[in-house]
Symmetry: C2
Subunit: 116 residues, 2 copies
DNA sequence: CAGAATCCTTTACGATACTG
DNA sequence: CAGTATCGTAAAGGATTCTG
């Protein structure tokens, strides 16, 4: 597979787009252990506003990676869960996570070196 | 580019940040086959402006993923090359590319379904 | 509690022209 | 050819408030 062919394939562009924002991968990451409520997600992530959280979850839902479950209760309860398709993304995401665990300090060292 | 202690594992967050923009992953990808000149990169990618190309390469260099080699010639010649650290990122990127080939159509199907 | 509605700031990105 | 300088637009993200 040549570089050109890879880039020409719109599925590859699609894949890059899925990671090309701040929160998509993070959300998938924190949903890995099972369904969770928005408040819980906000707690786990920290620093994400309600608006952006909703936007991101809606985007993931639109792409078929996450499912939204609303329960008719009071107070309202909502849960988000990875779809089967979404779970298949955990593998590649783990690859990044493993890389970060192994090489993260090298990146930070480079940033440090280049800041002086 | 916040790598604060928001997430439990901040190195994972660092990895996500490295890919959370349009061109970082693409640039690393097109550099996988060896050193290349900016003009060549622009050709391979298509649709990236000179300004953004430079910005992205500088960012990758700052993070220690890419090295810049300038030759004292006329006309000027410059080559960019993955560092050893940068090459270690090709594995995870490949994992994601493979995922795209396997599941990309499912994502597009979901988008289609949710557009109606 | 979920999340919609506002308002605001930042920045990513693009187009173009210019310099060494 | 590499890279900078400007200008402009669009989108992302954040803070806050309000409502069912």
């Amino acid at each position: 597979m040549t570089t050109d062919a890879y880039l020409a394939d719109c599925r590859a562009r699609l894949a890059f787009d899925l990671l090309s924002n701040t929160w998509n991968a993070v959300l998938l990451w924190v949903l890995r252990d099972g369904p969770a409520r928005p408040g819980e997600l906000r707690e786990r992530i920290g620093g994400i506003s309600p608006k952006v959280l909703t936007e991101t979850l809606r985007r993931l839902e639109f792409n078929g990676l996450v499912e939204r479950h609303a329960f008719a209760e009071a107070p309202p309860r909502v849960e988000y869960e990875l779809t089967a398709l979404g779970r298949t993304l955990l593998g590649p995401i783990d690859a990044f996570g493993a890389w970060a665990f192994e090489h993260g300090d090298e990146v930070m060292a480079a940033q440090d070196r280049n800041s002086r």
